[in-house]
């Protein structure tokens, strides 16, 4: 870029000086010159200098440049197109004022006047890329050089005796293709034409020796060496006025940068990119990078300072927060430690490496061990389970329990172990644990006392069951085995009475009768005992039972007594309950029998009824009998307790004891409300079983 700028400055300087000299002289003609229509025409096909667009109008670098120059000088332009020989003739004939693109030669200078050259095309030497021996025309002396037959280059080569051998081709395409394929050493031709052809043919292994240094087509001052062509605007011979305007316009267009714009537009796509030297690159880099680096460094330092300040603040805050958190943690740690120490159950933590980290006070109280006694889990196994077989079993059980919860948040299952304490006592302990990251907390529940109590209870229960069974067995056996001798005694007495009647006096017979009666009473007692034991021993057979029907049966069975005593037994409608109907029958039979039996009224009256009372039914059996003094109200329900002599009322004293047993087996209660001489009301309750009540 800088190179082209330098060129331009020199060029303008070189061009403008003559213009400045000419301009004052032409100043008077300016008005007439400004109104004139400039007629021009362009060649049909000489890209990129001159060409015709698809709409028939002229285009190309030279056409654009002329248009720009003429426009700059404020002159209208009429541009047409036509074949070269045609338009050249028209200029010679004066039918055209200017041609945009004419190569300067001495012959032509005699026919036309030429503006300053706005472009020169110089010849160059094309060589293969890998060629090292040719860097200028001078190196061609002993080489095989290809040129197009009759071309300027041909003439130039002959005139200057450039080549060792001259190879002639019909076209430059052919020349370049031969060179590219390895034939001969170089091609001598116009550089621009060469570039265009290489591009068109797609040849990449051929380069211009000059392109190594420079690829500028623009005019440069100073004597030009070698083979070259200069391009200028051409006007009619003697049209000095127009020529001056064109030169002036050209200088302005170049100075204004318009020339560069057009140049880039038309030649940019063709020419290889300019090669820039290392020094220049370095100079650029220095010029651009140093300030840039300084700026960046400045910015960086500023930003860094700011960032450090920000970070420092952040860190200070974080330290504060950490201190706070540490304090909170310490507090919570203290709290936890206190809790751990005063906990009512033994606890210890063990790290994942099996180190006993800590055990609490209760642990030491229970087992006698301190952390010093059992520094590791291994030590614990050895100490707490001295029997090797049991130890192995414990370890296996524990490992299995731990494995089960591995990778979960679950607690280790509580399992019972027999732990040996420091004082060699063994204690039954349920051990469970909770795994945390890096350690687990084991908790111990000492169930030794509980277990002992449980065992005691179990043994007591077993004893009770056994004694109960024995009692039932006893009642049964008693009823049998007591009856056998009884029967024998009574039997033989009666045999004595019948077989030895004649040998006995009245007294003897009376004694025998007394003995036999005693035997009968004894049998009654035995039977009552048996009945009572059966109520206890037999399973309840609960059935839906219509209590009205039960009472009706009781009354029917007692009909002879009722008739004999001229009694009245009344009952209301009673509920249906789920009870053992045999037992309930006995209950009511006993109560009604008693009501009639202990009754001296002329007309004994018994009333049976029932009232709802919460979740029970309360039954009553009411009589107008002899009544019971309240101080005996408890005693009457005890077995074999009688309030009367046998002479007054027969009986064994089992009836109410049996009643109480039956009611209690039905989860009920029995009691009496009575005063001596004022009749009695016996109450008992039976639970409701709603779902079965009609």
């Amino acid at each position: 870029m800088q190179i082209s700028k330098m060129v331009k400055v020199f060029f303008v300087f070189w061009l403008v000086i003559p213009v400045l000299v000419v301009v004052p002289a032409r100043a008077a003609d300016q008005p007439s010159g400004a109104g004139r229509i400039i007629k021009s025409a362009s060649e049909l096909d000489y890209p990129p200098f001159a060409l015709v667009r698809s709409d028939g109008t002229a285009d190309g670098f030279s056409v654009d440049l002329l248009k720009e120059v003429v426009r700059t000088m404020g002159m209208p332009l009429d541009m047409t197109t036509g074949p070269w020989h045609d338009i050249k003739q028209q200029l010679a004939d004066g039918r055209l004022d200017v041609l945009p693109f004419v190569s300067y030669s001495e012959n032509r200078d005699r026919l036309f006047d030429f503006s300053a050259s706005y472009m020169r095309l110089h010849g160059t030497v094309f060589v293969r890329e890998d060629e090292t021996g040719i860097t200028s025309e001078a190196d061609l002396q002993d080489k095989a050089v290809i040129v197009m037959k009759g071309d300027n280059a041909h003439e130039y080569a002959l005139q200057n005796r450039l080549a060792g051998t001259l190879i002639l081709t019909d076209t430059y395409e052919d020349a370049l293709m031969q060179l590219s394929s390895g034939k001969h050493d170089a091609v001598l031709m116009l550089q621009l034409v060469g570039f265009q052809l290489l591009k068109k043919l797609g040849i990449t292994n051929v380069v211009s020796v000059k392109s190594v240094r420079e690829t500028n087509l623009k005019p440069i001052p100073g004597p030009l060496s070698g083979y070259e062509q200069k391009f200028c605007f051409a006007v009619q011979e003697g049209d000095k006025e127009l020529l001056a305007k064109l030169n002036e316009g050209l200088a302005i267009v170049i100075a204004s940068g318009m020339y560069n714009t057009l140049y880039d537009k038309w030649f940019g796509p063709i020419l290889p990119g300019p090669k820039v030297s290392w020094q220049q690159v370095a100079r650029y880099l220095l010029a651009v990078l140093v300030p840039l680096v300084l700026i960046i460094a400045g910015l960086g330092i500023w930003f860094l300072k700011k960032e450090v300040a920000r970070k420092t603040r952040h860190l200070q805050q974080e330290i504060q927060e950490r201190k706070q958190a540490e304090m909170t943690l310490q507090k919570s740690e203290t709290k936890f430690r206190t809790l751990f120490d005063v906990a009512a159950i033994p606890m210890c933590y063990v790290s994942d490496e099996g180190i006993m980290v800590n055990c609490n006070t209760k642990f030491t109280q229970t087992f006698g061990y301190t952390t010093a006694d059992i520094p590791t889990l291994d030590a614990w196994w050895q100490t707490a389970y001295p029997d090797p077989a049991y130890r192995q079993q414990v370890i296996d059980t524990w490992d299995a329990a731990v494995k089960k919860v591995q990778g979960t948040q679950d607690s280790i299952d509580p399992i019972e172990y027999l732990v040996t304490c420091k004082n060699r006592d063994t204690r039954r302990v349920i051990i469970s644990g909770t795994a945390f990251p890096e350690y687990f907390l084991a908790t111990f529940v000492d169930i030794t006392d509980l277990k002992n109590t449980e065992e005691q209870l179990e043994s007591t229960l077993a004893d009770l069951e056994r004694s109960n069974a024995e009692l039932q067995q006893f009642a049964y056996v008693a009823s049998h085995d007591l009856q056998e001798p009884l029967r024998a005694a009574v039997g033989f007495l009666q045999l004595l009475q019948s077989r030895y009647r004649d040998h006995l006096d009245e007294k003897g017979t009376h004694y025998i009768e007394r003995a036999v009666n005693a035997g009968h009473r004894m049998q009654g007692l035995i039977n009552d005992l048996l009945t009572l034991s059966r109520v206890n021993a037999q399973n309840l057979v609960p059935k839906e039972t219509d209590m009205t029907r039960i009472v009706a049966e009781v009354v029917r069975d007692l009909q002879p007594v009722i008739v004999e005593k001229q009694a009245a037994v009344n009952y209301s409608e009673l509920p249906v309950l789920v009870v053992d109907n045999n037992q309930v029958f006995s209950l009511l039979q006993n109560l009604v029998t008693n009501a009639l039996k202990y009754n001296t009224s002329r007309h004994p009256a018994v009333e049976i009824g029932c009232q709802e009372d919460g979740d029970v039914y309360r039954f009553f059996v009411k009589d107008n009998g002899i009544g019971i003094s309240p101080r005996f109200h408890d005693r009457i329900f005890m077995i074999f307790q009688r309030l009367h002599t046998r002479r007054e009322y027969s009986g064994t004293g089992i009836g109410l004891a049996l009643c109480r047993k039956i009611v209690e087996r039905h989860n009920g209660r029995i009691w009496v409300v009575s005063q001596k001489g004022q009749g009695s009301v016996f109450y008992f309750t039976l639970p409701k079983t709603k779902e079965l009540i009609k």
């Binding site: 009856q483 056998e484 029967r487 024998a488 039997g491 033989f492 007495l493 035997g519 009968h520």
Partner: protein
Amino acid sequence: MTDMENVKPAQVLLVEDNEDDVELTMEALKDSRVRTYVHVVYDGMDAMKFLRRQGEYADKPRPDLILLDLNLPMMDGREVLQEIRNDPDLTDLPVVVLTTSQSEEDICRSYKLHANCYIAKPVDFTKFSEIIKQIEGFWLQLVKLPRKER
């Protein structure tokens, strides 16, 4: 009486371990109108040996009636009853359970084992004697039983 003396006496097997009961039963049977010959065994094992005529009982007759107490040493009356009913040769023998027990369970069990009847011995000898007479009258005179080839 002369008629009865010509008739072969009925064979009764009394299975009872209590001497008193044995004697009272014998006394009660003495008063009966039927001529009976009472064989007494004191436990269940002997009862079965008697019925199968094994050992010392080889020449004993087949009884016409068995009076069986339930509570016996060695092998109790319930087991004896079961064996009798399981033995094709013995199964049709009439068995009267004569016991002190009034337990519902004993009664049910005995009938399940096909006792012909269940009688609880009363304490009163007069009543007992009456019961024995009724048993004899019923089982040895009234009912017809299948005849067995002896």
